[in-house]
Amino acid sequence: MSTDHPTKMVRLAPEGQKRKWDWRAVVVRISFIAVLIILWQLVAMMKIVPSYLFPGPDKVGAVFLEKIQYDLYLLRKTFNADVPFQPPQPSLTISIFKSMGRMGVGYGISVLGGLTLGVLLARSWLLKQTLGTLIMSLQSIPSICWLPFALIWFGIDDKAILAVVILGAMFSMAISTEGAIRNISPIYIKVGKTLGARNLTLAKDILFFAALPELVGGLKVGWTFAWRSLMAAELVRSDSLGVGQLLDSGRQYNDMPLMFVAVFTILAIGVTVDLLLFGTIERAIRRRWGLEK
């Protein structure tokens, strides 16, 4: 091997260094949340509003623990029948799994459909004028408005919820995918062609990667749309398990702490996927592409 073998290559500083945590920001954020919780507890203790209308973090925490215990009981029961009986109640974990399962299917279909539609819209002038206009106008309808139709078409079934999720997310992703493709800098296409890339090779080696940063942004927005549609649909159609249903069952039983637990669960899922999952992917891409200093 020659001395300039690429594995021994000198790398410039920013790529090699691990990104350091900004400890100051972390401390400030955590303190802020702690202060909020303390304030919440104080306000709840002042009893301006009765606690069944505005429970403090202590009551909400208690219900949360109760939920966890019930789920542990369910888990034990599945492996071992000799557990003391507990009366059935809506399970937090199963609700989360149910909702995420619907997201998996609904969002998955939306991504496939949205990417395909987006590519078609970017490639064909005729489709852009026809289908594109239709998609743009359908996109202006709040997705939950499709639920009554879906209920009649698909009946009281998960399909109705999925239809709402898909209609809520797919069109937005079709539009953002089209934009991502149209915004590809022509220089990459010119360079790719002159280096000998054609058609499919050009698409998979160059166009895809050139569009990737914007594409991921569109997928993220699509996820948000899908998630909101799902929550709306689950709230309205509260006869099958799900996080949205958990929230509504809290309302039906006048169980305000449960409603708080459900809302915090919705928040936690949103933050996890938005910031941790998509945020990490986006940052990794932006750093590799050099879009972020």
Partner: protein
């Protein structure tokens, strides 16, 4: 690997003031570039220099006539005619090495040989240490060096350059002129070089094609009568450049007359510098 333009013409429709208008980018044009030659094309902006190069690259097709490279008519882009553009166009998601290797990969060169060849050309532009870096970690001049290595790695029969140095600062440009002169001598590749920088063209070229302003066409083809390698500071070269400058200025003025208000004329426009002095912004 001669390049022949045989009666090649090209026109476009473009939008100006919200009106579609048909305009001729290139009048029927015929000329030949000899094998191994450093051939420059200069002219006022909008004269069709880049159109000419794109036709040769196969990125655009001629309305009439044909471009012939190595006896074969050009009908699509191909790895035998690689291009260095004004924008470096390095793929930001690939390392420097992968960028240089990419064309070879498309050609089906096996990975070890691909790497060796890419490294050979990175060595030629003095950037082997940065093979593992990402393009955004490099300076503008370094990126353009990589773009040159990438184009050369395919060992094309002709290297096309479309104002490759015009986005760089004067010092970097100077450095790259000397590098390009050396690389050209080393590889003996035919180079077709489009620029609006007259001194740059005079310094590097064997022959220079000057173009008329819109509609674009050949004004004349000038031999640069000095042996390589050249010294930038030589008086002969400066005098030669000044004369060419005058010739191009006539074209620039002619285009300006068409485009600007009637109260503009070349006599009232600020005086041009004396003949042997470097024109502002023209430092090569």
């Amino acid at each position: 690997m001669e390049i022949q333009f045989e009666n090649v013409s090209k026109s476009f429709t473009r939008k100006r003031n919200d009106r579609e208008e048909h305009f001729v980018a290139l009048r029927p044009t015929t000329f030949t570039v000899k094998s191994g030659e450093f051939f420059s094309i200069i002219g006022p902006s909008g004269c069709g220099k880049s159109t000419l190069l794109n036709l040769l690259a196969g990125l655009e097709t001629a309305d009439e006539g044909r471009v012939v490279v190595d006896g074969r008519p050009v009908d699509h882009p191909g790895a035998d005619r690689t291009v260095v553009f004004q924008e470096h166009g390095l793929m930001p998601w690939m390392t420097v090495l992968r960028n240089v290797e990419y064309g070879l990969k498309l050609k089906g060169v096996p990975s070890m040989e691909r790497r060796d060849r890419a490294m050979k050309y990175l060595r030629m532009v003095h950037l082997t240490r940065f093979a593992g870096s990402m393009p955004h970690q490099l300076s503008g001049g370094m990126r353009q060096r990589v773009a040159i290595a990438r184009a050369l790695a395919l060992e094309p029969s002709v290297l096309l350059m479309d104002e490759p140095f015009s986005a760089l600062d004067a010092q970097t440009r100077d450095l790259l002129h000397d590098e390009l002169q050396r690389i050209w001598a080393e590889t003996k590749t035919t180079v077709v070089f489009v620029t609006h920088n007259i001194r740059e063209a005079a310094y590097l070229s064997d022959r220079i094609l000057t173009m008329t302003g819109q509609p674009g066409g050949i004004k004349r083809i000038v031999d640069v009568p000095f042996p390589h390698p050249r010294a930038k500071s030589s008086t002969e070269l400066s005098r030669f450049t000044a004369e060419l400058h005058q010739e191009i200025k006539e074209e620039v003025d002619r285009v300006a007359m068409q485009e600007l208000d009637e109260d503009w004329n070349p006599l009232t426009s600020p005086k041009r510098p004396p003949r042997d002095v470097i024109a502002p912004g023209e430092g090569i």
